[in-house]
């Protein structure tokens, strides 16, 4: 009889322990509803990635990382190991898990640079070399970064946070992650999600701005054919840009250097195997690691607050200002050039660096008014100039605030 009582006690105790350790009980504890909200947000992002195909290659791992980190009890990611903006190596060695180790790539700025090698090897700088004036449009589009920097400061964010929020206006995911990991790592989750969401929404955000700032006559401007760029020029370009920018702004060297290394691999034509690897295998592996670890930083505590709402609102302002800046500068440039050399202002909005989506939007909007007007190659110039411009802007912010 006593043996039966003992075993029934053991069963009750074991069940009690099981219920205590189960994640479900955390939902009913104080503040447990936050986990449910975050799981719902993660599922919504998964839906956007799978059903709506909004940047699925990155949004899917980000959303799943977010889901993993918000499962109470699972303890997939330990934000305390990276508290105070530094890595606590001893604790990491003792209790770090897979996602903690993967996050090191973000924290140490490794993943954004590796992604830039891949981006460089997929980018053709030919249109920019053929028409260097595109650099001006790429520079003008960076106004969104600095305007939002001021806007964030007015809302009470610290200077470092302002820099990280402003960089969303560059519409460049890796650059945003690189800068935020250095300046304000606690904002990494919301900023990465804002940056990639707005990049996916380029075809929705940009056309109304482009149409509002241009006349129908301007939208129909045909641009002259770009000159042919020789292979030697394409090989020299990445080397020259790396030397000049790295000497002027050493803090921009990691991003610009990696971008140009990838491009040199593609253009030189003697390392095809390496070029294909960075375009495919390396890029895909890094995207998986980056997505999961960035998503994992979006914990309920860091995500569910007014700051996140402000970041999302400021992000869209940054993006819109950048698009408008490029269009307005193109219009200004048209005042000083002769009739045959006018620029179609629609290509100005491509100065934000969402490659090649922003250039495609310029082409699509242009063709709505003149079916035989092909703006894609002309828009690729400011588009790739925007990539260089946002990397330079990140370097400047890092030099000022880092």
């Amino acid at each position: 009889m006593s043996a039966l009582l003992q075993s029934s006690n053991f069963i009750v105790e074991s069940l009690g322990k099981f219920v205590e350790t189960a994640g479900f009980t955390a939902f009913f504890a104080e503040g447990g509803y936050k986990y449910l909200i975050m799981i719902a947000v993660a599922c919504f992002l998964l839906w956007l990635a799978i059903k709506k195909q909004f940047e699925p290659l990155l949004l899917l791992p980000i959303a799943f990382g977010m889901l993993l980190t918000n499962l109470p009890g699972a303890e997939m990611f330990h934000s305390d190991l990276f508290a105070g903006g530094k890595v606590h190596w001893l604790e990491l060695y003792q209790k770090g898990g897979l996602i903690d180790y993967l996050y090191l790539g973000v924290k140490l700025g490794i993943y954004p640079c590796l992604i830039f090698v891949g981006v460089g090897s997929m980018t053709d700088f030919g249109p920019l070399i053929a028409n260097p004036k595109s650099f001006l449009l790429g520079a003008a589009a960076q106004i969104g970064i600095f305007a939002t920097f001021l806007g964030a400061y007015a809302l009470g964010f610290s200077p470092n946070e302002c820099g990280s929020i402003g960089i969303i206006g560059g519409a460049d995911g890796p650059t945003s992650i690189f800068l935020t990991a250095k300046l304000a790592p606690e904002l990494l989750g919301p900023i990465a999600i804002a940056a990639y969401s707005y990049m996916a929404l380029v075809p929705v955000i940009q056309p109304p701005i482009m149409k509002a700032l241009t006349t129908e006559k301007e939208r129909k401007i045909r641009m002259s054919q770009l000159r042919q760029v020789s292979k030697t020029e394409k090989i020299i370009f990445p080397v020259v840009i790396t030397i000049i920018i790295s000497l002027l702004l050493p803090s921009a060297a990691p991003l610009v250097g990696c971008l140009m290394l990838g491009n040199l691999m593609k253009e030189c034509g003697v390392v095809d195997r390496l070029s294909k690897t960075v375009q495919n295998e390396l890029m895909n592996i890094v995207v998986i690691f980056l997505g999961i670890s960035v998503g994992a930083t979006a914990t309920a505590e860091s995500f569910l607050n007014f700051q996140t709402l402000f970041i999302l609102a400021l992000g869209i302002i940054a993006f819109s200002c950048g698009s408008a800046g490029g269009v307005l500068l193109a219009k200004l440039m048209n005042l000083f050039v002769p009739e045959g050399k006018k620029i179609n202002p629609l290509i100005g909005s491509a100065g934000v660096s969402a490659v090649p989506m922003a250039a495609r939007v310029s082409q699509t909007v242009g063709q709505q008014y003149d079916k035989s007007n092909f703006l894609l190659m002309h828009a690729m110039g400011p588009n790739v100039a925007g990539v260089v411009g946002s990397a330079v802007a990140a370097g400047i912010l890092l030099a000022f605030l880092g």
Binding site: L128, I129, A130, P132, K133, F135, L136, G138, A139, A140, Q142, I143, I145, F146, A147, F149, L150, Y153, P159, C162, R227, Q228, S230, T232, E233, I236, F237, V240, I241, I244, I245, L248, L249, A385, V388, G389, V392, A393, I396, L397, F400
Partner: protein
């Protein structure tokens, strides 16, 4: 902060304007070289035009035509000799009868 933003933006602009000048200079050098090459090759081609006699030209055209026609004829005959053959069904060449059937679950 306003000053930081303004200076930051101006530096971005200045760096990219500097790159424009560098790229323009590079473009000027390369387009000049390219033009010189094109002019040189045009001159060589012109000289070659005179070097080839009319008889040689006619011989080259005739040879090319001959090769083209003979090649065409060979391919044509190849195509014509291939006929589609349809085989009637026979239990001797049937795969169904040659392979072990899976046991049926009842």
């Amino acid at each position: 902060m306003l000053l930081t933003a303004l200076v930051g933006f101006l530096i971005v602009f200045a760096v990219l304007v500097l790159l424009i000048f560098v790229m323009k200079a590079m473009g000027w050098v390369f387009t000049r070289e390219h033009k010189a090459k094109v002019a040189a090759s045009a001159q060589t081609a012109h000289a070659h035009d005179h070097a080839i006699s009319d008889q040689e030209l006619a011989a080259a055209i005739i040879t090319a035509l001959k090769l083209y026609k003979s090649d065409l004829h060979d391919r044509e005959s190849e195509t014509l000799t291939i006929n589609r053959i349809t085989r009637a069904y026979s239990p001797w060449n049937s795969k169904i009868h040659g392979l072990t059937q899976l046991p049926e679950r009842k």
